[in-house]
């Protein structure tokens, strides 16, 4: 049995999905977190159910990928039961989609989520009355506190039924729908869609167009507009019957500050730069402690053992790999994710998007594209996936470039671990400034040459909420555990392989080969360039490899400040990592991947060579 979670964006579908299935899909406080279909399984009373978390949508008749995905599943009868998740605070707007879903006649359970927030916004919702009107069971939940979610599955299985509620459409529309259904063997919702000009059956569409034109001539508005207006009107009536307004508690509206040009934009700058500074400071402090611990309690005793050379090389490699992972990457990445999660959960991202709209128009995008870019500071892979929330291919193409250029947390590790630690914290920030300038220039250039239309932003603002400590830590932990289970073993294995290659002189051969290019063009030691190559696998591995090849984590003893700076900036710009290449390929196709990769390689080399020319 297949159960689908359907609802508007940002109403808590994914949070409920996680609680039902025990999985950990992304939950964030902005519309458009889930972009594809997620499935999970749950056993209830010895029976297995498949649960689908679907992307949030506003209606079923749009032409975005998300709307088509959900509509397609309903039309092909892929779901046996629908759990419609509605935001109790914005019930009227949410009912608009619900009425459309209800037309498919599937067994329904209505979940009014965000019950904890109705109080705050001064309303109360009568769920029993709503259930009576809709003709299907309604339960109230506050998923964020886990309240009521335990009831979802039992209620759905015991009492879900098709809704009896029906939108009363204009009688011309009703007549037209009847006539389409008389001529073609289709269900009511399909006939309605076809009257709106949507569908796959060309013959039916053609005959619908004729009827639609007639209605349009008479009403001076298209059937689609009439139908929408009827649904909204009906939603207003239903909401009016179940919502009681109480006195709203007056409080200070933070948006008075956050969405104004002044002080909103300075606040945004302070937040973003502040996060970087705090991550650098906390990260380097933790790093110092961990590295010291490794050096004095593990590396030194090992060296004093006097093992045979091969064994010593191997065990040192393992230790250095561990040290690079735990000591350098972990403190920065974990702290970073904590802050990104706070941003995601607070609802601030949508404010940033609103403020950035004008600037983003300059680079051929609109405000909402700031969300993938900020996510890009965490990890490029999900950021590239969220490019899907942009509507046109042109925007996605431009965003592919810009998002891959944003320094992800792995690259932050490099900037922090190499530049902030050895050269200085302000120099580290200057790398962000350079990348920022390059992103802007790239955007300006691409927006001039990329064909296609430019769309504007229509984005629902997420409500501001104080992020919950538990959720933030859980979310960051989920991401960091991916690092620990996938990246750490890789780091250790590659560091052992590196050690072996070094022992047998292979690295030396490659290093000698790359030597002229490295020292003449980039001005960095050849082994550092060799280390850069490892960044293709995972960005932080470049740093791991550098430490192994240099033979010491105290990089300032083997390279000058300019060399360290150059090395860091090249590895930040140069080549997206292999996972990014893979998702880019899946999302955008081969051509974009090749272009992005070539562009970033050239950019890295040019900037590196430029610095070498300027400070020989």
């Amino acid at each position: 049995m297949k159960i689908g979670l359907i609802g508007n964006p940002n109403v808590g579908k994914s949070l409920i999905f996680n609680q039902l299935t025990g999985l950990g899909v992304e939950v964030s406080n902005y519309p458009g977190t889930t972009v594809g279909l997620e499935t999970g399984h749950v056993c209830y009373q010895r029976e297995k159910f498949e649960i689908c978390d679907l992307p949030g949508i506003y209606s079923l008749d749009g032409d975005s990928d998300e709307e088509k995905l959900v509509n397609g599943m309903l039309e092909r009868h892929e779901l046996d039961l629908v759990i419609a998740i509605l935001d109790a605070v914005h019930l009227e707007r949410n009912l608009y989609l619900f009425f459309q879903v209800a037309e498919y006649g599937l067994p329904l359970l209505v979940v009014l989520n965000m019950a904890d927030e109705t109080e705050k916004s001064g309303i109360s919702v009568d769920s029993q009355e709503l259930s009576k009107i809709l003709g299907c069971p309604v339960i109230m939940t506050a998923a964020i506190h886990g309240r009521g979610t335990g009831q979802i599955l039992p209620s759905a299985l015991s009492s879900a039924c098709p809704a009896i509620v029906k939108v009363a459409y204009d009688h011309h529309i009703e007549a037209a729908v009847r006539s389409i259904m008389g001529n073609f063997p289709v269900s009511r919702p399909v006939a309605i869609l076809s009257l709106e000009g949507i569908g796959a059956d060309q013959e039916m569409l053609d005959s619908s167009v004729a009827i639609a034109n007639e209605i349009e001539n008479r009403h001076k508005m298209s059937p689609r507009q009439i139908i929408s207006a009827n649904r909204h009107h009906f939603a207003e009536q239903v909401a009016g019957r179940v919502i009681t307004d109480r006195q709203k508690k007056p409080g200070f509206d933070l948006d008075r500050l956050l969405t104004k040009g002044i002080p909103g934009i300075p606040i945004m700058a302070v937040i973003l730069i502040g996060i970087l500074l705090v991550v650098f400071t906390i990260g380097s402090w933790l790093e110092g402690i961990i590295v010291f611990f490794f050096a004095s309690y593990l590396v030194a005793p090992l060296l004093s053992l006097g093992l045979p050379p091969l064994l010593q090389q191997l065990s040192i490699s393992v230790l250095l790999g561990l040290q690079a992972g735990i000591g350098i990457a972990f403190p920065f990445i974990f702290t970073f994710y904590i802050f990104i999660s706070i941003l995601e959960d607070s609802g601030y991202l949508t404010r940033a998007a609103f403020l950035a709209d004008q600037a983003m128009h300059r680079v051929g995008l609109h405000g909402q594209a700031i969300i993938p870019m900020i996510l890009g500071f965490g990890c490029t892979v999900p950021a590239v996936m969220s490019i899907r929330l942009l509507a046109s291919r042109r925007e996605r193409f431009i965003a592919s470039f810009l998002v891959t250029m944003i320094p992800c947390s792995a690259r932050t590790v490099i900037i922090a671990g190499v530049v902030a630690t050895f050269v200085g914290i302000w120099w580290a920030l200057s790398i962000y400034l350079i990348v920022f300038i390059l992103v802007v220039l790239t955007g300006l250039f691409l927006s001039r040459i990329t064909p296609g239309e430019q769309f504007g932003m229509i984005m629902e603002m997420a409500p501001l909420r104080a992020p919950q400590v538990v959720n933030v830590v859980k979310k960051s932990w989920r991401k960091i555990s991916e690092f620990l289970t996938i990246a750490m073993p890789l780091l250790i294995i590659s560091s052992v392989i590196l050690g072996l290659l070094q022992y047998y002189g292979v690295i030396l051969a490659f290093t000698n080969f790359i030597e002229p290019f490295s020292t003449m063009v980039l001005g960095i030691p050849a082994y550092a360039t060799t280390a850069l190559m490892f960044g293709i696998l995972r960005k932080e591995m470049a740093l791991g490899a550098l430490v192994v090849l240099a033979g010491t984590p105290a990089l300032n003893t083997v390279m000058t400040n300019v060399q360290l700076y150059t090395w860091a900036i090249i590895s930040v710009l140069f080549v997206p990592c292999i996972s990014t290449i893979a998702v880019l390929y899946r999302q955008m196709g081969l051509k974009t991947v090749v272009l992005v990769t070539t562009y970033t390689v050239i950019l890295g080399i040019v900037i590196g060579a430029g610095i070498h020319l300027a400070f020989p």
């Binding site: 209606s59 001076k220 909204h232 040009g261 504007g456």
Partner: protein
């Protein structure tokens, strides 16, 4: 002189007299049309000879009845075309205006009347809740100041005289913050559906919560806050309650 040039001159004089209500000299026109002053003087001389306009002793020029008739016909064509290109076909304001500047000279009266009628009925259709048409508003009021809206190329530098808000209805980009507004129509095609899904339909009462200097807005519709880019805000017609 070609007839299109003649029409451009007369139109520019008319637009100026409508907007600035000051004396217009050959020099002003030269600046408006970005043409050299000497050429303009010579051209105006020949227009005077044809009886389209007259100079007074201070050097200010005004249109004769003949000149004014021609100018008004061209200006009307310009407005209809700009409205058609911009509001129906969804072209950018400036592009629509520039295009209209070219087409206005060659299009026939029959064609312009038909386009006018089409725009009028399309205006009707958009205001599907109420009977009033946005056509008249678009043609007569929404271009209250031809200079400010860039009717004549090169005339944008002149500061607009008077205010550009209209008594009947205006778009979100010039509405006031925090007062209830009634939506009276949406003019842009591309964004129509998403806006409708979010509840921006004629008759709906909305509140403009925020407008930035670039005209990006936050609109409260059905208790939800929705952020819109300026080009989208500019397609939503509203009036004060």
């Amino acid at each position: 002189m070609e007839s299109s040039e003649r029409e451009d001159y007369l139109e520019a004089v008319l637009v100026r007299s409508l907007a600035v209500q000051a004396h217009t000299s050959a020099k002003d026109l030269a600046a408006d049309l970005s043409i050299g002053e000497e050429t303009v003087s010579a051209d105006l001389k020949s227009l005077e000879e044809q009886g389209d306009l007259v100079f007074d002793e201070t050097g200010a020029l005004s249109l004769t009845v003949q000149g004014r008739t021609i100018a008004e016909r061209v200006l009307k064509k310009h407005r209809v075309l700009q409205c058609f290109l911009g509001e129906i076909l969804g072209m950018e304001d400036h592009a629509a205006s520039d295009e209209a500047c070219v087409l206005e000279h060659s299009i026939s009266d029959t064609a312009i009347n038909r386009i006018g009628n089409y725009v009028k009925s399309a205006g009707h259709r958009r205001n599907w809740h109420r009977g009033n048409t946005s056509y008249n508003r678009l043609i007569n009021n929404n271009i209250p100041n031809p200079v400010a809206s860039g009717l004549v190329p090169g005339m944008n530098k002149i500061p607009p005289a008077g205010t550009s808000s209209t008594p009947l209805g205006s778009t979100l980009t010039d509405a006031m913050e925090s007062v209830p507004l009634a939506v009276i129509g949406i003019t842009g095609g591309e964004y129509l559906h998403r806006l409708i899904d979010l509840g921006v339909i004629p008759g709906e009462v909305v509140i403009l919560k925020r407008r930035l200097h670039n005209n990006a807005v936050v609109l409260q519709v059905k208790e939800c806050d929705i952020a819109l880019s300026p080009e989208i805000a500019g397609t939503i017609l509203v009036e004060k309650m």
